[in-house]
Subunit: 458 residues, 2 copies
């Protein structure tokens, strides 16, 4: 096969330069909106409005939703008021809310002005819910049915109103006060007799969340009950919206990214790596480095205060990195496992002592095994192979005892701090590797010098 | 409100002891299968078969699927052959495959013996696909339609066959050779005229994956295109199965957990934290600790080889932990961000130099800011406040220059190693904090002593 050097991007640009608009349109129409959006995000800015206007109306809104906020903003600036209205009218309410949340104030004003009054009211209602709550994730476009309808009535209602709804796969049965009574899947509707009453078909055992439920718990509910849609109710069990699984999937991915970034000592950002400016990346990382650097100076203080001992037994210095690293790694292992367990709901605060008891037993196993490996290495490699006369049995004992105690302390710190953070309402992910390492470093040195003083009589 | 000390578990046990089976049944029937499964997993083993037999038949299979493998195995051992057959017949094929994959060989034999021949063939077919492939995730229970059918025919077919299918929300249009031609959503079917041909209604632009597509890529496709079901085709574009979004959600969660665990230096396990034995936890952690401990001894070697210099300028020792920790943290930040970028598809190997260029600029900013902060701290706090005469301007220069260079090296190592690992077909998550820290520790010491020799003429 010959090497192919022409990309789709190049073709699009070439066609645009040659004003071959109908060919361009043909190409765009074959694409899925998500792919068209990805293409647009990579396109030169000057071509963006041109290409977007070539899209058929129904595809335009779907593509718009999938684009980066930067490209969306660019497009909106180029839109006439009527163009903007066309796009906004086609958006589902939850997507419109996402858009409003991403855009700067002046753009938001234009968007809300173009939205029809009903939509504007819905958007404003959803905006009232806290970020990260179920309310801010939901859409209000669902099919509602009355318990007195027959299956046939219900299907008629879906035919009449279904086009504007985000999903019709699950319909919601409500009473006159909009209280949620049950759900009916389209599958059950189709498989039922035409004259059967909705109250007979409906599933009354409904899983729902409150508008104020945290979005992380929302994804947990989706995962636990294998749902594709989840109803959102207010404190009086009145149905106010639904959350679809695609939004739950996004949340799950975003939350995992946030956890991972915080665990790596980076302030989370929404933007993809390559779209973040140098300055933004710097701001996300510098404060953590500074904080951790300041904490690490305490470790330095400990060394300074034992400087005289170290001068007498200089051989001890060489083993500081190994002990500190092993301590840090042991602590990280415990904290990472516990942090993930907390966010998956496997570990709760009531398991506090069970977790500690488990970690302590693992620590004894790890500590004993590593100390034994170390002792053999110290005696065979350092002493006999490299003929280092300073590596005596007492020195090896200091190192190995420190190893065992450090691992015990590290696992203890690593498993308790995330649980305590969670209990106190902080994000347990903060209590991860960087912090644990810094704390364990200091503790391991204190243990080291304590054993050195005791055994080597420094 | 009075303190409530009786839990649901207690009530269930009490009722079982009193043989109040109909009351128990009433309680269980009100529960969602996932909740019943959670209850059963916590129940005393001796009550498990009794409680399970109280469930109505359709709920039994659904509950069974949601239970822990341990409880499933326990139940199967207690089942008569006909009871086992009843449960297995009710399972969707993908759930049956999951069960077979979890159970020990003798149990698998019994399960396959009780499955009807058709199901057994399907299970065996799916078992042939590699773990972690789309083929191993899929189910074969979907609705297929022919392009020549009318909307009315299609709805009739769904009514006739729909009860056994995992979903009817999307139906698949295939030709006589089972090649995938398009999809029709139940929504479009309902909103269409009765006599419209499926070929007219169907969406031809179908997103599908191959049976061998990696499951991580499968979740990416769900996320990108906001799907609830995804068809799986073979190399000839013949439809062989579908994957539903609930399985994608599980994969996303499992993969994020695996990444996080590997990044924390722990071999990933499937089991929840509190269900893993001490021995399993030990085995997941010990090899990493040993490997990292051995690597850290090289750092120790570096210190040993500069022992004489350190004896002359003992003040340098106190700053080793701070420089090593800051280097490690800087490297972790870069690696965590790049690893997550790779797994979200934001970063590809073609971005290699863009990523390095970006990290280098961030490193210069971080390095300069931290070095400046350090210089001020060394001069004001260590020298003037604590009256440490050893902290001279040349010493401070050594420390600050080391800081800048270490951060540059750390960010470089942190961003390149994950990309190289990915390129070579390894899991980039391995190139995370623990490894980066160990490598950066050694490099930072080399830089430190190099500057010390140059500037302090040791």
């Amino acid at each position: 096969m010959a090497e192919r050097n022409v990309t789709l991007d190049d073709t699009i640009v070439a066609l645009a330069e040659q004003k071959k608009y109908s060919t361009l349109r043909d190409i765009l129409v074959t694409m899925n909106p998500a792919d068209a959006a990805a293409l647009f995000d990579e396109t030169e800015e000057r071509l963006l409005p041109l290409l977007f206007r070539l899209l058929p109306k129904d595809m335009a809104a779907e593509t718009f939703v999938e684009m980066d906020p930067d490209s969306q903003e660019l497009l909106i600036h180029g839109f006439s008021d009527s163009e903007l209205k066309e796009v906004v009218d086609e958006l589902y309410v939850d997507d419109a809310v996402d858009l409003v949340e991403e855009m700067p104030a002046n753009v938001v004003k234009r968007i809300l002005k173009q939205a029809d009054p009903e939509t504007r009211k819905l958007i404003n209602n959803i905006l009232k819910y806290p970020d990260d709550s179920a309310g801010s994730l939901m859409t209000t476009e669902f099919v509602d049915l009355l318990p007195t309808m027959t299956a046939e009535d219900a299907i008629k209602r879906i035919r009449r109103t279904g086009t504007d709804k985000e999903t019709i796969n699950i319909c919601y049965v409500i009473d006159d006060g909009r209280h949620l009574l049950g759900t009916v899947s389209i599958r059950n509707l189709i498989l039922s007799e035409e004259d059967e009453a909705i109250s007979q078909i409906m599933e009354e055992n409904v899983i729902s969340v409150n508008t104020l439920t945290d979005q992380e718990d929302v994804t947990g509910v989706f995962g636990k009950y294998d749902l594709t849609v989840l109803p959102v109710v207010d404190n009086e069990n009145r149905l106010v919206g639904i959350i679809t699984v695609d939004d739950a999937l996004d949340v799950l991915e975003t939350e995992a990214t946030e956890d991972i970034e915080i665990m790596g000592g980076v302030t989370p950002t929404d933007k993809p790596y390559l779209k973040t400016s140098i300055w933004e990346t710097f701001k996300a990382r510098f404060p953590w480095l500074l904080l951790l650097m300041i904490s690490a100076t305490f470790t330095g203080q400990i060394i300074t205060s034992f400087e005289n001992s170290l001068a007498v037994a200089a051989v001890l210095t060489a083993y500081i990195p190994m002990l500190m690293d092993t301590g840090g790694n042991s602590g990280s292992q415990a904290s990472v496992t516990v942090i993930r367990g907390i966010s998956l709901g496997d570990i709760e605060f009531k398991d506090f002592f069970r977790v500690i008891w488990k970690e302590m037993r693992v620590a004894v196993l790890c500590g004993a095994a590593l100390a034994a490996a170390n002792f053999v290495k110290l005696m065979l490699v350092d002493r006999m192979l490299f003929h280092n006369p300073d590596v005596t049995v007492p020195v090896a004992a200091v190192i190995c005892l420190t190893m065992v105690c450090t691992i015990l302390v590290a696992k203890f710190v690593g498993c308790t701090l995330p649980m305590l953070a969670e209990k106190m309402g902080f994000d347990p992910a903060v209590m991860s590797s960087p912090f644990i390492t810094t704390i364990v470093d200091a503790l391991s040195l204190l243990i080291y010098f304590r054993f050195a003083v005791m055994i080597l009589h420094l």
